[in-house]
Symmetry: C3
Subunit: 150 residues, 3 copies
């Protein structure tokens, strides 16, 4: 049994669908014990400060983590093989004057720490962009560490 998936269920969440990329790139790439995870965008579309509220953006960030974790599980077999979350960049689709990008991305950080505890704490960049793929509200990319092969 996967401890991380147990905790996810205890928190009332479930993994999103593990959609493979449709082009010449990977959902994640492992290099030694480093796992580079491709960016995913939220299902929720729209710009913060225009048609998406802060609370909706925060939930979108959290749901994007669930999609990313499904892809990571698919790639590495078991989320328990992730030793730590090291870095995250969160791009927030921001209307003019919207400056609460960190509060949006907190929705992602909080879930990662709820799942991995201190090992889920990460270095982070939260920034604002004018446009995202498909008009999405939030985009996240991560770098993780894996437990060395037994």
């Amino acid at each position: 049994m996967s401890h991380i998936e147990d905790r996810l269920r205890d928190l009332g969440f479930q993994l999103g669908p593990a959609k493979a990329p449709v082009a010449n790139y990977l959902g994640c790439k492992r290099v030694g014990d480093v796992l580079y995870v491709s960016a995913r965008v939220s299902e929720l579309r729209g710009a913060l400060g225009i048609d998406v509220t802060l609370e909706e953006g925060r939930l979108a960030a959290r749901e994007t983590v669930l999609v990313i974790l499904a892809i990571v599980k698919d790639a590495v077999g078991d989320l328990d093989r992730i030793a730590s979350v090291d870095k995250m960049i969160g791009f927030v689709h921001s209307g003019p004057g919207f400056t609460q990008q960190p509060q949006v991305i907190d929705g992602a950080s909080d879930l990662l720490v709820a799942l991995w505890g201190d090992r889920g704490r990460h270095a982070r960049t939260a920034t604002g962009v004018a446009q995202l793929p498909y008009g999405s509200a939030v985009q996240l990319e991560m770098t993780m560490s894996m437990h060395p092969e037994a």
Copy 2:
């Protein structure tokens, strides 16, 4: 003879000019077997969705790879020393409502995979920004792995 450069020629391409940065940073920095490659912008200027078409953007992304590879060759001596392409961030200068950033960056990903095969497949972020240096259409940064020193 360099296998990667052979393949490049077979595909009908040639390396761009290896312009060194004009400021206090490097074209790429090697740390152990990790090669951090500085961002380069496309020669093509303009915003996708305003004055640059999707197909023009895709070609600009591909040509930016050729410029980056020239810089990498200049830094490491031979492109055959690159073991894999691990991560790429593509910033697309996007006009209002342009949301096909991934399709633009596919122009870069496709060439990397044509050259390095599966080892060229990478984790990727394609995002939209309001402005790029010199008004360029596309900007790419990469992280690569090098073969350990013989």
Copy 3:
């Protein structure tokens, strides 16, 4: 005595305040000898090309480095433990038509090289975004290498 802090004083600078993040992420995360440093924004607010000049932006980039170095010192104990600066991404809050992002971020790169010499030279991305947290002018994130534990 810290050599890097000595040099900082000789240059007439002092470390900024080491403000800890107020959310579920870290000022920096160490993974082996890699140090991922979270993005920090400048105190200076406003957009380049609208209400911030190039020279003001350059100074803001430099001051943001001083804030980041205070956080790094707080996390690792002594800036002399930093072996090299490997990568930096600089996001510049850019008004319409502002395209001198690299010249703004030079303010950060120049200080890093003044402090660490050639080991301070880094791979770099300077890009333009429509909005930053708190409306700040500049945002910087870095990846550094640490000297292995003695």
